[in-house]
């Protein structure tokens, strides 16, 4: 019988419950690599979250692990008799002798400004083993755990007050709940981010000797900093969160056999946070050329600029709106179509207010579309106004659809376009307007559009097809699995 490689694909806040680039990437991966048996472990926000993607037959199991909204974190609430047995077993002796040593050692690393990835992994693995027999909620909510936390916090250079300490301990209680999960036996773990979703990779590697592949689209720490810069938490809480995630991230980088990134921009960040340069491979995203291809564009009455983006601040929709006002002054019949799910309602309201303020009601419209391929065909220009990106799918789709691109020079976008589109300084509406006007008005505009679209199409077909990226991952799976097999063999033969 042919051995089928089994992969535990771990996600956090993405596939299969949320939309967005990482989810699309996961969906492509599991659909295209049909000879791989996937187990999905998805960290979700709440138990009420439901899958948006239907899993193909080669997905043999899909476990959703809610981080919040459960009364008994770290337990399978539907199998309470087993939980109850573990609760009874979790007595003071077990807490003091078997839980506290691992918990304290983990805490020391999480609070440290220079954490040791090996010690952290050892502590987490010890806790993982402990939670096979004992109850997670009773242990993590024990007074012994709280005292250990306070003791470690007092010894650290983060000056938490009691409220900060309460918040921080609650985060730990929730974040570490995945240590109580029993993961399937797999050949390798493929984590889709370097944060909490990477922990199963480390645990399976230590427990089963599984291979560990870490793929990052955005950079976990970078996104965390962005989140914290506008978070309502105290400085001490933010400092603790940054330390916690930095420790987890560096542990993941340290233990991963291979780390993949989308391009040079992300690679630099990964190196900064401790990833080994020799283990980093760039694997750009790809789309299906059969779905996204140039189509005869229907006759249009108005020049159209398309933006496909979920609506929140980092997507820079406000920058686009300001640029639209300048374009409208020169091309009065222009229309800007923004298609995407509203993620941040408050930000969306600000955008609508800006549209009204700049009297762009007839020129800017928001909506969602289930037919993105037609949307690209109907657009004259695709515009990406983002403030932060990895390797955006929308730009690849636009290139593959033969739609010329104007994009903010963020993340790996310039590498992605490779000169086949116009890049502008991020957050700079006038520069964006100038670039858009180059493609929409004036004598050479149509030729420039046609030329850029052609070059972009060629480039996309050469480098960014779904086939290329899935094939590359299949190769990496084989390499990692083979290396693991060799390691096991060499251990067995002494």
């Amino acid at each position: 019988m042919v051995h089928r490689t089994s992969v535990l694909l771990t996600t956090e806040g993405t596939y299969p419950c949320y939309s967005g680039g990482v989810s699309v990437w996961c969906d492509y991966l599991v659909r295209c690599l049909r000879n791989i048996d996937y187990h999905i472990f998805a960290i979700t926000h709440a138990p009420s979250q439901q899958p948006r993607f239907a899993c193909p037959p080669n997905v043999t199991s899909c476990v959703l692990h809610p981080m919040w909204g459960t009364e008994e974190p770290g337990t399978d609430e539907t199998n309470f008799s087993e939980v109850h047995e573990r609760k009874i077993r979790t007595d003071r002796t077990a807490l003091l002798r078997r839980f506290l040593p691992h918990f304290s050692s983990t805490l020391r690393q999480l609070f440290s400004s220079d954490p040791d990835p090996e010690s952290l992994a050892g502590g987490l693995f010890g806790l993982h083993q402990y939670f096979r027999e004992y109850d997670y909620a009773n242990s993590m909510r024990s007074r012994a755990a709280w005292e250990a936390f306070l003791e470690t916090a007092a010894a650290s250079d983060i000056s938490l007050n009691l409220e900060d300490a309460t918040h921080s301990m609650r985060w730990i209680q929730r974040y570490l709940s995945l240590l109580a999960v029993r993961f399937p036996r797999v050949d390798l773990v493929h984590s889709s981010m370097a944060g909490l979703a990477g922990i199963p990779g480390v645990l399976c590697k230590l427990e089963q000797g599984s291979g560990y592949l870490l793929t990052e689209h955005g950079i976990h720490m970078r996104e965390l900093y962005l989140h914290l810069s506008r978070s309502p938490y105290s400085s001490a809480c933010r400092r603790f969160l940054a330390r916690f995630h930095r420790a987890i991230t560096s542990m993941n980088y340290h233990h991963a056999d291979v780390v993949t990134c989308l391009g040079e921009f992300n690679r630099q960040w990964q190196i900064h946070f401790g990833a080994d340069t020799n283990r980093i491979h760039a694997v750009p995203n790809g789309v299906d050329p059969a779905s996204f291809r140039p189509r005869p564009s229907p006759p249009r009455s108005r020049p159209t600029v398309l933006t496909m983006a979920r609506i929140f601040r980092l997507k820079g929709i406000d920058v686009l709106i300001r640029a639209a006002a300048e374009v409208r002054d020169r091309v009065p019949e222009v229309q800007f179509l923004v298609f995407g799910e509203i993620v941040d309602q408050a930000y969306f309201s600000q955008c609508l207010a800006l549209v009204e303020e700049l009297r762009l009601g007839d020129h800017v419209s928001f909506g969602v579309t289930s037919d993105s391929t037609s949307a690209y065909a109907e657009a004259d220009v695709y515009c990406l106004p983002s403030r932060s990106e990895g390797l955006p799918y929308a730009v690849i789709e636009a290139m593959m659809s033969g739609c010329p691109v104007v994009a903010a020079d963020v993340g790996n976008v310039a590498d992605l376009l490779g000169g086949t589109g116009l890049t502008v300084t991020p957050n700079d509406s006038p520069e964006m307007a100038t670039a858009l006007l180059r493609l929409l008005s004036g004598p050479g505009a149509e030729d420039l559009r046609r030329s850029l679209a052609h070059q972009a199409l060629e480039r996309a077909r050469r480098h960014f097809t779904i086939h290329q990226f899935t094939q590359r991952f299949e190769e990496i799976y084989d390499e990692v699995a083979q290396a693991r097999h060799d390691a096991v063999l060499s251990l067995a033969t002494g």
């Binding site: 709440a46 138990p47 009420s48 979250q49 439901q50 919040w68 909204g69 009364e71 008994e72 609430e77 539907t78 199998n79 309470f80 008799s81 939980v83 109850h84 909510r141 007074r143 709280w146 306070l150 916090a153 007092a154 000056s159 938490l160 007050n161 009691l162 409220e163 300490a165 309460t166 301990m169 609650r170 209680q173 720490m221 970078r222 900093y225 962005l226 914290l228 810069s229 506008r230 978070s231 309502p232 938490y233 105290s234 400085s235 933010r238 400092r239 940054a242 900064h272 980092l314 403030r387 932060s388 903010a408 020079d409 963020v410 300084t425 991020p426 957050n427 700079d428």
Partner: protein, 508 residues
């Protein structure tokens, strides 16, 4: 050497924003790089416009002066203690409406100016409906509230509707179990035993429905349901000349239907607002988490009503049946109830203020100053408890003097009123402790306190009412309430020694 950015004034992207969104100073230079990049200052821009090799260099230079900016003030929602007092009081609104109906029509949704035997039947049915459904309502509300707190309206709705048939079944079983000895020992002669059963069932269902509304903080709709019920009684009894008992059962049914319909609408709205799918529920987990609340709910009403049951069942040769409604005793207790309701409103407000102050105090105390924090909170508790004692004394004195002056019944039964007022005030202290312990997710502490309190209530009340007069049953209530207040106070004081820990472990 650190040099100032060339055009520091143009780096407004790094400064606190003009909008009301929260802003925090950067944690380190990495944080600054991220902020610069998202503001469009990439390596190229940093080199071209600011003269640095890359964004990292610029970030290093900016970090030292940016870290001195204070974080923007994030204001929490301000909620008034007065609003909390009103919310705490609003549960009694239906009761007030019933009292008003009694004054206007001489009857209400249940009870009225009726024969002693009918009054005994109605009273018996009413008390048993409270005791039977009290536990179910508490358990349902606690489980439902958890899901609503975590914005899981879909599961919250299912949980509520799961407890309703359970509660109805429990109500029917208890009703039949009570009917058997009632018929065998002739506690209530036919058809009064059946009337008692009818009130037990119909009122029990009404409590289940209004329990959902109270949980959803829609107590005003409970009041509307009560008004609808009273109007129906008036219509059927006064206009259509249906006998009072029939009209009242119909009125209760109308109120129940209205309350269930309102519950359905509000639960569905909550489900829609929260979105998501309901989670798989474990009955075993439900029972594990809900049993102390169930026990408390049932025993609480037994503690409140045990003295009445004892007073009504004191042997009386002249009485037509072993269960004899005591009108004078009931009047005195109703007067004491006013004082109780006025004080209970403060429980919610005091709990709200206590925890608001606790969070403030936590912010002011570092980890090393934990002992000071705990001492402060112990003081805050003592201050609150003293306030309740003073409030109880003030309200009770006012009510005692006023009622004694205007009611001869009350004047003649001054001792009973004093006992009931004292018991009510002690109950309020017990409830304040209960509220704190529930907030700290320590329901077992409450269940462990109320069980002996009920035993004391029954024992003292029984002995004194049998050895002396039925009026002495109130002593059972007074000592039971005192026991409840003392035991819950002891439990709270024990938990206050590690309040920070219990507060942490109460989180969802």
């Amino acid at each position: 050497m650190t040099r100032s950015p060339k055009r520091a004034t143009t780096l407004s992207c790094l400064l606190p924003p003009a909008d009301s969104l929260p802003w925090a100073p950067p944690l380190d230079s990495c944080d600054v790089v991220v902020r610069l990049e998202t503001a469009g200052i990439t390596d190229t821009v940093a080199q071209r416009e600011y003269g640095y090799h890359d964004a990292w260099g610029l970030a290093e230079a900016c970090f030292s002066w940016l870290r001195t900016f204070p974080a923007s003030d994030v204001r929490g929602c301000r909620q008034s203690s007065l609003v909390e007092y009103w919310k705490g009081l609003s549960f009694a609104l239906p009761l007030c409406l019933c009292c008003l109906a009694m004054v206007i029509f001489r009857f209400s949704l249940w009870g009225g100016d009726v024969s002693p035997q009918l009054a005994a039947a109605v009273g018996f049915g009413t008390v048993s409906s409270f005791v039977t459904t009290g536990g179910v309502v508490q358990a349902m509300a606690r489980r439902g509230l958890f899901f609503f707190t975590v914005h899981d309206g879909a599961t919250g709705e299912i949980v509520c509707w799961r407890w309703v048939p359970l509660g109805a079944a429990w109500l029917a079983i208890c009703g039949l179990v009570l009917l058997a000895p009632c018929r065998y020992y002739h506690w209530l002669p036919a058809p009064f035993d059946w009337i008692a059963l009818a009130f037990h069932l119909s009122l029990g269902l009404l409590w289940l429905a209004t329990g959902i509304l109270h949980m959803l903080e829609r107590s005003l709709w409970s009041a509307v349901a009560t008004v609808a019920g009273i109007c129906s009684v008036v219509l059927f009894h006064r206009t259509l000349h249906v006998p009072l008992v029939g009209a009242q059962i119909t009125g209760i049914a109308v109120a129940t239907a209205f309350a269930f319909a309102a519950s359905f609408v509000f639960l569905r709205a909550r489900r829609r607002a929260d979105g998501g799918r309901p989670r798989a529920l474990s009955s075993a987990l439900d029972l594990y988490l809900a049993w102390p609340y169930f026990l408390f709910g049932a025993l609480y009403f037994l503690l409140i009503f045990a003295d009445r049951l004892l007073a009504w069942t004191v042997p009386d040769i002249a009485a037509a049946s072993p269960v004899q409604f005591r009108g004078d005793y009931e009047t005195v207790l109703d007067v004491a109830l006013i004082a109780f309701v006025l004080q209970v409103g403060g429980v919610r407000a005091a709990t709200f203020t206590f925890f608001r102050n606790m969070v403030r105090s936590q912010k002011q105390h570092g980890i090393s100053a934990r002992a000071e924090f705990l001492r402060d909170m112990k003081r805050a508790y003592a201050k609150n408890a003293t306030s309740f004692i003073l409030l109880g004394a003030a309200v009770s004195t006012c009510l005692y003097l006023t009622a004694s002056r205007f009611s001869t019944v009350v004047h003649d039964r001054g001792g009973t009123l004093l006992g009931a007022l004292l018991g009510g005030s002690l109950m309020v202290i017990g409830l304040w402790n209960t509220s704190l312990l529930f907030r700290l997710a320590l329901p077992v502490d409450v269940a462990a306190a109320i069980a002996p309190a009920v035993a004391v209530d029954l024992l003292i009340g029984y002995l004194l009412s049998r050895l002396g007069s039925y009026h002495y049953a109130v002593a059972g209530f007074g000592t039971g309430a005192g026991c409840f207040a003392a035991l819950t106070t002891r439990n709270v004081l024990r938990r206050l020694k590690a309040l920070d820990y219990y507060y942490l472990s109460s989180s969802v």
